[in-house]
């Protein structure tokens, strides 16, 4: 089978939807963080694919992808630190139990 832009875009859209679905149904904070990573990686595939398959004047898509990977790494580092703090305060990482504030 020939793999072109369409197939890659479908793959990235599927990954994005899987990530979004995971965020909505998962209750464990680590799983939610992983789902966010999946969504961001779907975006990276998109940028790389557009840059590779379309006649772009420059490599800005790939540059953007590198920045997005870096930012995702920073986000996960902060996320893990905050989850650690959550576990210290609440003794759980289940997001349903973390609801002191309402209204």
């Amino acid at each position: 089978m020939h793999v072109g832009l369409t197939q890659v875009l479908i793959l990235s859209a599927l990954l994005f939807c899987i990530g979004l679905y995971g965020i909505l149904v998962k209750r464990n904070l680590f799983a939610i963080l992983m789902c966010i990573e999946i969504m961001l990686n779907a975006v990276n595939i998109n940028f790389a694919a557009f840059n590779y398959f379309l006649p772009m004047p420059d490599l800005s898509g790939q540059v953007m992808m590198i920045f997005s990977i870096t930012v995702a790494a920073a986000e996960v580092a902060v996320g893990l630190a905050i989850i650690f703090k959550i576990y210290h305060d609440f003794k759980t990482v289940n997001i349903d139990k973390i609801n002191n504030m309402k209204g």
Partner: protein, 473 residues
């Protein structure tokens, strides 16, 4: 390559690194106030020096049009500097209780750096970097209080919602890149293929992501919880800086990159503005915690600011800039008072603020004036700001929007004055509140600015006009 136009960012970055290093060198038991004083002085000098950068004629770009240093960017940079200077001043006492107060100031400055990059962003790469630098610093700051469950909860909620918003925005940007073959705002503006499905989906996803960041009404779920749980000075900076920065870049995206589609998205923005004004004001009525009340009221304030977007004229942009300024000044006053109350009365609900007129008359007066300015009562600058907004939008034919804004301002007076009533009639449980000199300076500057600009608005008006003509509307 004219690297001098980056000098505000370079100064802030060097200052931040200096503070991080000094924090490591100072003995642990030493207070970190000295670092805060250095930061306030440097940022103050930077604020004054930016007045000399306003220019006529062509504005300089940096590095292949990634970064644009026009009057509009300078105006917003000054606003962010103002917001962060006063946030540092009002958190001097508050930060002494935090375990890592040196890092607290460093994080504040990193978020300032993100906001300043965002104000100049002329390309989706710069915009993304600025936005993430700002929000990631805010995730850390929101969860900064030790042994406080609410603070951790605020941090994780902000992180999850913020990351999802980032992913949605980025997905939108990638589709725009695919359809428009560029990430540069100016190149996208010259693009004529707007009505391909790929481009439209991209624009919709991007706008949804920005709505999350701005906490526009259907996408606002995170903001009341984050505002309530975060440390009080950070709540203030979230309400002032992060909103103003998102507004700065949102205006640039809408009116530079997607100027040709303006006629199609403006009615949608008008509907969201109406939802924000109605929903924010009504939800704020029943709130008992003042921080939470201010969160809903800030949603309503963003609704008023969106009204200025709908005008899509230089007057509209000018009124938005004017309103953002007065909103920041009013919030500085309100959150300075709340920070003192939170520290000394252990809470920000009605009980903690009751009888403030006896225990700290100055604070009660400033709080009253700030709230009246947010409600738009005549002697304050809030009235002038709302007048400009509604005049600009009525000129473009959105009379119904101005009407809704007017009615909702009347409703908002109810819950703002309820706080005033509690402060002046309620019974104090703590009959003396100690107000430090830094807080006194902050609140007096905030109060004087609110009142004097309300009487002589023309000075600020000239500046905002000057900043708004950068746009070719």
């Amino acid at each position: 390559m004219n690297i001098y136009i980056l000098y505000p960012e370079i100064t802030v970055l060097l200052l931040t690194l200096l503070i991080v290093i000094m924090d490591l060198l100072l003995p642990v038991q030493e207070t970190r106030r000295s670092l805060a004083y250095i930061a306030v002085m440097v940022l103050g000098c930077l604020f004054i020096s930016l007045f000399y950068q306003y220019h006529f004629g062509i504005s300089p770009y940096f590095y292949n049009k990634l970064f644009y240093f026009d009057n509009y960017a300078i105006f917003f940079k000054q606003l962010f500097l103002l917001a962060v200077i006063f946030t540092i001043m009002l958190s001097l006492d508050y930060a002494d209780d935090l375990r890592y107060s040196g890092e607290y100031y460093a994080m504040l400055l990193f978020s300032l750096l993100g906001m300043m990059v965002l104000a100049s962003a002329n390309d989706f790469v710069t915009m993304f970097i600025g936005l993430e630098l700002m929000t990631i610093s805010f995730y850390i700051l929101a969860a900064f209080k030790n042994n406080d469950e609410n603070s951790s909860e605020a941090g994780i909620k902000y992180l999850i919602m913020g990351s999802v918003a980032t992913a949605v925005t980025l997905y939108g940007i990638s589709l725009i890149y695919g359809a428009g073959h560029s990430l540069d705002f100016n190149v996208l503006a010259a693009e004529t293929r707007f009505f391909v499905p790929l481009m439209l989906t991209g624009i919709v996803l991007l706008i949804i992501g920005m709505f999350f960041k701005l906490s526009i009404m259907p996408f606002h779920m995170w903001s009341p919880d984050v505002y309530e749980g975060a440390p009080t000075p950070i709540t203030g900076l979230l309400a002032m800086g992060s909103k103003a920065a998102a507004i700065a870049v949102f205006i640039r995206i809408l009116f530079v990159a997607f100027l040709h589609t303006a006629n199609y998205f403006l009615p949608v923005l008008a509907v969201f503005a109406a939802i924000c004004m109605i929903g924010g004001n009504i939800a704020a009525i029943k709130q008992k915690n003042i921080k939470r009340m201010l969160a809903y009221s800030s949603i309503a304030q963003v609704g008023y600011i969106l009204v200025g977007f709908c005008a899509a004229s230089p007057q509209g942009i000018k009124s938005v800039l004017f309103y953002v300024f007065l909103y920041i000044v009013a919030n500085i006053g309100a959150f300075a008072v709340l920070t003192v109350v939170d520290k000394q009365n252990k809470g920000t609900d009605d009980k903690a603020i009751a009888g403030l007129s006896k225990s700290a008359p100055l604070l009660a007066m400033v709080m009253t004036i700030s709230l009246l300015s947010m409600a738009g009562i005549p002697p304050t600058v809030g009235f002038v700001g709302k007048l400009y907004l509604f005049l600009a939008v009525v000129e473009q034919g959105y009379i119904w929007l101005a009407f809704i804004g007017f009615i909702m301002s009347m409703i908002s007076v109810y819950y703002y004055l309820r706080v005033v009533k509690v402060m002046y009639i309620g019974k104090a449980n703590n009959d003396y509140i100690n107000v430090s000199a830094a807080i006194k300076i902050t609140v007096i500057i905030s109060m004087l600015t609110t009142l004097l600009l309300g009487i002589w608005p023309q000075y600020l008006s000239v500046l905002t006009n000057f900043a708004a003509i950068s746009f070719a509307l």
